[in-house]
Symmetry: C2
Subunit: 564 residues, 2 copies
């Protein structure tokens, strides 16, 4: 693994920081540097945009991967004085891995730092919010959401305030996934009133992958805009891989603890026990995972409804738990132990992402009895988690035809009491393997416009193979498009400004500004170079599509002269 | 140029033909050959799908590009006995090009075939429909739309009938673009009650491109599913390039005659005259162009509304005509001569695609006074064209935020009396150059669901450069996704069946069937091979994404056993 990575913003950008007013915090943002004072935002020559890249996107920083990124939240957590450093890892598995010398070469150097745990009450952002407390995390996300617009828009922008963040958290309408053992995490918020977020899945599989390439994918994902990263590893050395990813991640990390629990029992679902699962939860909570997908809403009674499906149960977690229930003829132990689970989560502030184990895997199965039956159970679990002050979001489909998407959003809001909805697409057709980033971006943009708070990306490799670094980037950029389109449609004033800046640059033939304002400046440069590689063409008042005489933008100048 | 091209269906498919009942016609379709009798369509081991590839997709055929594809409509047109072969080309320009020996090396060999023209009345499909006549073209599209479902779905499918096609044509709600001088054209229908169609733009520009590569792009576009192709050439030898494209095109070809007219006056918009434009219309009509984009609805009164736009006039044709109007201080000559234009179109059955010269070029300009002012004028022109029995469709935007798309469809239906809507995307954000096939597929899928009849594709090169062959394919496949998703959402029973076949193949680990059912089998194969290249993996009951233990599809078998 390359040990040291020099910070590098996207082309044409630089890192900038905004200081807190309530707390001594500084919130990283990206400043796109424009060549003109004509930017439609009042600040003359830059546009400030949301930035997920952390130190990796700061030209003044470099990250030693063996040390990890800055633990910016450490002091905030300490100063709350409601947690304690444990003397050792609480999970048996964690201790066993630490004691195993044969793993030394794989181990993150600082892995033996002691984990932190709540002393005697919940330490979740929801708990603080309900006490009326504003945390540094809350001020951080408020500043972050505003993207400096309150400075620039001269009263036309109603900024997100820490108080509004607190109120949304208290009501359960938003979450800040921020484990006390992931101090490296730059806080972000997921909720309907905030910018739409996207998640990138990475993780090894038994068939392929290694630690270095997973860390590299994770860093690549946040460079291009992933708001959270889920480590879905199911292969070798999951524990050690996760540690490397967490210590080097400025974004929240999610996981599906069930995958690792299954590895621990040699892949046999029927051998899973609550004790093994519980130990896995604690193991991962003490590493710092910020949210867990937990398939606790898949009940025994739902399983018969999947028998006549076209594609049965396509969620990995769902199929594992359905298998367990079927073999043991018992209720899902994640459901029966859900209160115990929540007690653990509350002690570390791990959010729960209630898994949709029965999401449809084909257009045929969309919105069926199995899916909506589980969704209602997720609503019941939401209430139970909230009773323990655990932050909750709800996972959603999947494969859904366009005309059936709205019902998903409506049912989620109704049955899950406005908890944030986190969907996988949905894919609006099944017939485009190789292009499922697109089939899902269509459904994703639509459901985000309707109110979904976070979209899980899908890469071009979906249904075909494990994504590589390039696929990760394509997935992230594609879902940034879907999320951004939804932000515009929802009327977010900060979203459309970047479009205006781009359009103005287009009209004025500021090619470099266009590239730099793009979600992916590198590809924009490359595509332009493919037909017009000369330096002079970056100044030209036309391009290869139409040439000089047929350039409408060019013609406009004359029309405007003549019309004035 | 490669002279002979052997017909080659997509991987895993073969060509099939359905015979007419009213006429001696045979309609080409593509049969996807499956490895099982479990296809959800009752025909045991194949799925028949719509096919735009003509002879190029028939393994039993080969095409000599210097001869062109089969003129299947020739006899149909002849037998109507309402047209005559002219002794020579009617356009001055066409005759001059033919007389110019220096062009011999560029000329399509059969270019000196005499064009055909109506004897003494309109020869449009709309005219026939209004007389109650069913033409072979009408039966052809009815058979084509049905994709053999009436044979297979055992009464559950309400097939498209020639009578229904006739009624839609007569009402102006659908068009069959089919110039009497393009006998090679396999008829297709564009209208809200039929499958959503897509158009691929090709064409050289003064900066780049040549005849061979444009013909190659055209054939590539129809291989992957383009229903029509627009030749938007603006560079050298437009006339000769178009002839090659037409003679080798089994799909309707559209053009924007204004581009060539502008070339004829050296690129100076102010030098354009009705006579030059008129001669260009006739020149292209006699070559066989099936529909013309004509920017006749951009009126002088609209121009002032564009002055405060973010991106002014972005339509090339729109900017040319606005320029002309502004210089001459006269009304748009395409508007004042619109009845003359329609007389020409009616004599060859060229459809008119009423151009949206004032479509928005940015989110900022969407749905503004300029755009909707022009749309109302297009409605007036629709009536005038219909008075002359000319087939009409209406072009639409462009760049539109998601929440403003519906208004576009509603306004079009209202002001243009249900004439088919043909939109360019719309792109739902401006900030993703390099990915505008995706930004536009999102808007395209949505507006097609709402009722747009044809989507003009956008390639990844949009806003950056001229698309190459690969970009053409990416654009086509992406828009097939949007169109297909809309067909599903509109409830087309034939659309969703392919999704069901795919999902069933997925559930049964029939990997090859999955690849063959995909819109792009080659990419599906390649992506699967990228992680699991072994032949045995094409049989495996899992893939590299999850591996064996984590394969939910695999787990389902057990769950079903236990549940039954």
């Amino acid at each position: 693994m390359q040990n040291s990575i020099k910070g590098e913003p996207l082309r044409g950008s630089r890192k900038t920081y905004v200081e807190g007013k309530l707390f001594p915090i500084r919130v990283g943002m990206r400043e796109i540097v424009l060549s003109t004072g004509n930017c439609p935002v009042t600040n003359p020559d830059t546009l400030t945009v949301y930035d997920t890249s952390g130190q990796f996107g700061d030209e003044k920083e470099s990250v030693d991967l063996t040390n990890g990124v800055n633990p910016i939240r450490e002091k905030w957590i300490e100063s709350r004085n409601d947690t304690e450093k444990l003397k050792e890892l609480s999970s048996e598995y964690g201790r066993a891995r630490l004691a195993d010398d044969s793993l030394s070469h794989l181990r993150f150097s600082h892995v033996n730092r002691n984990p932190r745990k709540a002393k005697d009450k919940p330490v979740t952002q929801m708990w603080y919010a309900r006490q009326g407390i504003i945390t540094p995390e809350m001020e951080y996300v408020a500043i972050r959401e505003n993207q400096r617009l309150e400075e620039k828009m001269n009263g036309q922008f109603k900024p997100v305030t820490p108080e509004m963040v607190r109120d949304e958290l208290a009501a359960g309408r938003a979450i800040i996934p921020a484990n006390i053992n992931h101090p490296e995490c730059e806080p972000m918020i997921i909720g309907r009133k905030f910018l739409v977020k996207i998640n990138a899945n990475i993780g090894n599989s038994p068939v392929t992958s290694d630690i270095a390439s997973e860390v590299s994918k994770s860093i690549h994902a946040i460079r291009w805009g992933a708001d959270t990263v889920m480590d879905l590893s199911t292969g070798a050395n999951i524990h050690e891989t996760r540690e490397w990813i967490l210590r080097n991640s400025p974004v929240p990390i999610g996981s599906v603890p069930l995958y690792q629990a299954l590895e621990k029992v040699g892949g046999k679902a029927e051998d899973l026990t609550w004790d093994i699962y519980r130990d896995t939860l604690i193991e991962q909570a003490e590493q710092g995972v910020d949210y867990f997908t937990i398939h606790a809403g898949l009940l025994r009674e739902h399983i018969p409804h999947t028998v006549n499906r076209m594609t049965g149960i396509v969620s990995r977690g769902g199929s594992i738990m359905a298998n367990w229930c079927s073999v043991h003829k018992k209720e899902n132990f994640l459901y029966t132990h859900f209160d115990d689970i929540c007690d653990i989560l509350a002690a570390y502030d791990v959010g729960v992402s209630l898994g949709d184990g029965l999401r449809p895997g084909s257009q045929f199965d969309a919105n069926d009895k199995a899916q909506f039956g589980e969704l209602k159970a997720l609503g019941e679990l939401t209430k139970r988690a909230w009773d323990k002050h655990v932050q909750v979001m709800i996972e959603g489909p999947g494969h859904v035809p366009m005309h059936m998407i709205a019902e998903n959003m409506e049912m989620e809001l109704k049955h899950c009491f406005d908890a944030p909805f986190y969907t996988l697409g949905p894919l609006v057709t099944d017939i485009a393997p190789g292009y499922d980033h697109i089939t899902s971006a269509i459904g994703g943009a639509m459901i985000a416009q309707m109110g979904a708070s976070m979209l899980c990306y899908v890469t071009p490799k979906e249904h075909l193979g494990l994504p590589n670094r390039d696929d990760v980037k394509t997935g992230v950029v594609t879902f940034k498009i879907a999320a951004h389109a939804a932000d515009i449609a929802k009327g977010h004033p900060g979203a459309i400004l970047r479009d205006h800046a781009m359009s103005k640059a287009r009209y004025e033939f500021r090619w470099r500004d266009q590239f730099h304002l793009a979600l992916d400046p590198d590809t924009a440069y490359d595509f332009h170079d493919a037909t017009l590689p000369d330096e002079a063409d970056k100044q030209a008042h036309y391009c290869s599509m139409c040439g000089e005489h047929f350039c409408s933008m060019r013609a406009n100048r004359k029309i405007r002269e003549l019309s004035s």
